[in-house]
Structure formats: C-alpha cells, structure tokens
C-alpha cells in the first residue's frame, strides 16, 4: 500500500477523488449552493444524458472539424510564412511587425470580425483557429531557422554540402524540432479558436452548447461541456505527443 502511495499518479488520483467526494458532500449538505456548483453526480448524469440523446455528436463533429482544419491550415500557412521570412529578409521586414502585433494581442478579439467576414458557419471558426495557430507556428519556424546551430551548418559545409544539403540535413530537421515543441500548444490553440468562434455566434458546436447552457444558467450542463472539451483536448495532446515522439525519435531513443 505504502509502495503504491509513493507513485505520483496514485497520489494525484487520490487527491482528485477526495476533492470530488468533498464537493459532492458539501453540495448535498447545502453548504455550497447546488445551483452554482451542482454535485459531481448531477454533472455525471447530465454528461450521460448529453451522449444518450446522440445530439452531442453533431456538435463535437462541428468543433473538431473547425479545430483540425484550423490546426492544419495554421501549420501550413505559419510554416510557409516563417520559412519565407527567414529566407527573404525584405519579406521579414514587412511580416515580422505584423506577426509581433498579432502575437501581442489576444487574437480571439478577431472573432467578431471573422464572423462579419465569413458568416456564422464553420468558416469563421476555422479562420480564428487558423490565425491562433499560424502566428505561433510562424515564430517557431522563423526563429528555428534563424537560430539554427551554426556549428552544424559549418560542419556540413566542410563536408562538402551545398544549399540543398544544408536545407535537408540541417534546417528542416532543426525546424521540425522547434515546431514539434509547440505542437501541443498549437493543438490547444486550435480548439480555443473553434470554441470561442462558436461561442460568439454559431448554430452548432460545443461552444454553441456552452453559450446556450450559460444563457440558461445551467451550471450542470456547463460543467459537463467543459469536461467534454477538456477530454478532447487531452486526446489531442496525446496524439500530438505521439507525433512528436515519432518525428523526433532521435531525441527519445
């Protein structure tokens, strides 16, 4: 028993269980108002009802589609711009201030604008998600190329490597390492973009359900939806981790 207790995950699981139990007891005893903090059992029932009705899948699919399209688009566009800026200095002079500005502001403030431009359908959600991811990836690639290990560049040069070799053997792997380092954050940003976009204006999606639950003061449903979103982000994190370990196997070997 004590041996088991020494494992970190066991202690973490115990702490979580204790917290849920305490919440359940306090909520049932009326010490905390169930209207604001419904007991975990109620949240669990709501969660079950959401899935039992089957309606939820339509919303999950909508959010996931927007997030994944935004993530893919953001990765491609961010990487392309970062690469171009690092290779063509005049372009960097124009792009860098824009990206720094976009990086400095909370990019979700663009949501209303995107809804005006692209409508309340999936387009505006993908756009928001894409902007969130692209700025992050831009800086990963841009600094990845500029801060590439010059010792490796010189080594490959003295072995007789030209531009193409340097690109293939040094720049691309080095940038991949940088991008993979921010892949988890990018996945979470993609989800943020999709949900916030739905929150602002939409007719489906987890963000839409969340907005609806909030407007009706349904704390149980709000908590259940938050749990669903957390669950999916964790799945995405796990997937991103798998991709990272695969592409950067030299780092984990």
């Amino acid at each position: 028993m004590s041996e088991l207790f020494e494992r970190r995950w066991v202690r973490q699981a115990l702490a979580l269980t204790a917290l849920i139990l305490l919440w359940e007891l306090l909520s049932r005893a009326g010490v905390i108002d169930p209207f604001y903090a419904p007991p975990p059992s109620t949240v669990a029932v709501t969660l079950y009802q959401l899935f039992a009705g089957g309606e939820i899948w339509k919303h999950i699919a909508a959010t996931f589609t927007a997030a994944l399209l935004g993530l893919a688009g953001g990765l491609v566009i961010g990487a392309a711009l970062g690469f171009a800026a690092a290779m063509i200095p005049p372009l960097a002079d124009v792009l860098e201030p824009v990206m720094i500005l976009l990086n400095a502001i909370p990019r979700v403030i663009l949501a209303p604008l995107f809804i005006i431009w692209f409508g309340i359908d999936i387009g505006s959600k993908v756009a928001l998600s894409l902007v969130l991811v692209a700025v992050l990836v831009f800086f990963s690639v841009y600094s990845g190329i500029r801060e590439v290990d010059t010792r490796l560049v010189e080594r490959v040069k003295t072995l007789g490597g030209g531009r193409g070799t340097l690109l293939r053997e040094v720049y691309v792997p080095s940038v991949t390492a940088w991008v993979m380092g921010s892949l988890k954050v990018a996945a979470s940003f993609a989800f943020t973009g999709a949900v916030v976009g739905e929150f602002v204006a939409s007719s489906r999606g987890l963000g839409y359900l969340l907005s609806f639950a909030q407007s009706t003061y349904n704390a149980a449903q709000t908590l259940a939806l938050i749990l669903i979103i957390m669950g999916f982000v964790l799945v995405l994190f796990w997937l991103a981790g798998r991709v990272e370990r695969r592409l950067l196997h030299w780092r984990y070997a």
């Binding site: 290990d149 490796l152 080594r155 003295t158 007789g160 531009r163 950067l248 780092r251 070997a253």
Partner: protein, 280 residues
C-alpha cells in the same frame, strides 16, 4: 553559402617564409598563407601579416595566447571566412580538405553511421556504398557496436571518434584541426590522439593543428608556429621539431630535444602573454 573550391597547383619553388630556411621552401606546399589579415566587422583586425606553410605530409601546429586568432587563421584556410587581406593558397582540392572542429557537433537527428555516411554521399558515393564504408570506418574506430546510436547516446570520446571517422573517411590530403581534443579527459584524449597520429603518419596526411597545449603541439608536429598576442596577431616564431617518425605520444616526450624546445617555446609564449598570463 559554400566556400568556392580554391584548388590551385602550387609551384614547388616559393619564397621562404619569415624564419624559414630557404631549403624548406623548395618543397611543394599543401597550404600557403601569405600576409593574412582577418577582421570581424569593423573591429580591429584579429590577425595581420600571418604567413605560414604546410608542406606535403607535414604536421604543423599553431600555438599562441588565447585570442590571438589561431582559429581564425584555420577558418580562413577552410574557406569559412573570407580574408580581409593577404592570400590563402591550397595545393589540394577543397574536397580533399577535412576540418575537425573543437566541439563534436554531429547531426543530432542522424545515427553515428548516417553522420559518417553523409560526407561520403556528398563526395559522390551511392547511399548503400556510403553506409557500408561508414560501418567500416566506425569499426576501425572501435565503434562497430554503436553505429546505430544517436549522438546523444554516445559519450564525448565516442562522439569525437565518430567526428574523426566522418572526416577521415573522405581521405583528406589536408586535415585542419581546431583544438579537436580539448574537451576529452586525459586518457580518452591520449588514445584518440595516438590513433589519429598513427593514421596521419601512415597516410602521410598534411595537418594544420590549432592547440593551446605546447606539449601536444610538439609531440605531434614537424613545425610549430607561435602567434603573437592579438589583436593584429602575427607569426612570432617558427620552431622545427627534430623528433623522428613514426612517433608515439609518450616516446616523443622522452626525446632529448623535447624538453629544451618546450622551454624555448614556453619562454617565448610567456614573454608574449606577460607576467600575469593575462591575455584579455
């Protein structure tokens, strides 16, 4: 991005360099540096008026106070930096020049054998052939069992041997080395250096070695150049080393001429550096 190949057949007859007996100047050179001036940006030149030569099959060391621009001279010869003045002439093709760096920065995303094979592929070998040749070189370096490892799975000494295999596999006729063994502990350093020395003598590779270790310089070299304190460092003196080859590192230190020459170079270096050893 890439240094232009600067292969040029050097005429065997040349003017003697400062401090060099005229008879030596009659031999063909692999490297000939004349009045080299190097600067970084608008700063004062690091080196100015450096002239030196490495002849066929000769091991030459470059010693001097830190900051005297030893590495800079080497980088100019390798084509990694353009000289600000003077000339660098190579008697071998750029492809026949190997550079062994101070650090052992191998490509971290390539295994030991892929790192060695890269140079071979860049020299026109087919991929499969390059890998097979890389395996033979790693085996020669005593790393046969480690060929599939990534650099971070290797010790400092093992990485250095991979770097050495990477360079030697290309059969260089000129080897430029920038304090290649500085980071290794004494025993590993001795073994790696001894193996390299044997190989250099067997293949009669011309070597230009930058080091801060006077004993190492003398034990390995035919000629030692002492650079003056920088900036505007120049060749302060040139010392022929009269120890017969083949050598071994311990035996060379026991040669009667070793201690007197060491004292001589040491005195000159101390005079250059100042009483506090302060080279800042």
């Amino acid at each position: 991005m890439i240094a232009k190949p600067r292969s040029r057949a050097l005429e065997p007859e040349r003017e003697p360099l400062p401090g060099e007996p005229a008879a030596l100047a009659a031999q063909p050179s692999v490297v000939r540096v004349r009045d080299l001036r190097m600067r970084y940006g608008d700063a004062e030149p690091v080196v100015e008026g450096v002239s030196l030569a490495v002849d066929e099959g000769q091991v030459v060391s470059l010693v001097g106070p830190s900051g005297s621009g030893k590495s800079t001279v080497l980088r100019a010869i390798a084509g990694l930096h353009q000289p600000d003045g003077g000339t660098v002439e190579l008697g071998v093709a750029a492809a026949e020049t190997g550079f062994l760096f101070q650090d052992d920065a191998l490509l971290p995303w390539r295994t030991a054998r892929q790192n060695v094979a890269l140079g071979l592929k860049l020299h026109g070998r087919a991929p499969a052939e390059a890998l097979a040749e890389a395996d033979r070189w790693l085996a020669r370096m005593g790393l046969a069992g480690l060929k599939g490892r990534y650099p971070r799975q290797l010790s400092g000494g093992q990485r250095k041997r991979v770097a050495l295999a990477q360079v030697l596999a290309l059969k260089p006729r000129l080897l430029l080395m920038d304090e290649p063994f500085a980071s290794l502990d004494a025993i590993v350093r001795h073994h790696v250096t001894q193996d390299l020395l044997a190989w250099i003598e067997r293949e009669s590779i011309a070597v230009l070695l930058v080091t801060h270790d006077l004993e190492e310089a003398q034990a390995l070299s035919d000629v030692v150049y002492l650079l003056s304190r920088g900036p505007r460092a120049h060749v302060r003196n040139r010392y022929p080393v009269a120890i017969p080859r083949p050598r071994d590192l311990i035996g060379a230190r026991g040669h009667p001429s070793f201690a007197p020459l060491l004292a001589h170079i040491w005195n000159d270096l101390s005079a250059e550096v100042g009483p506090l050893g302060d080279t800042a």
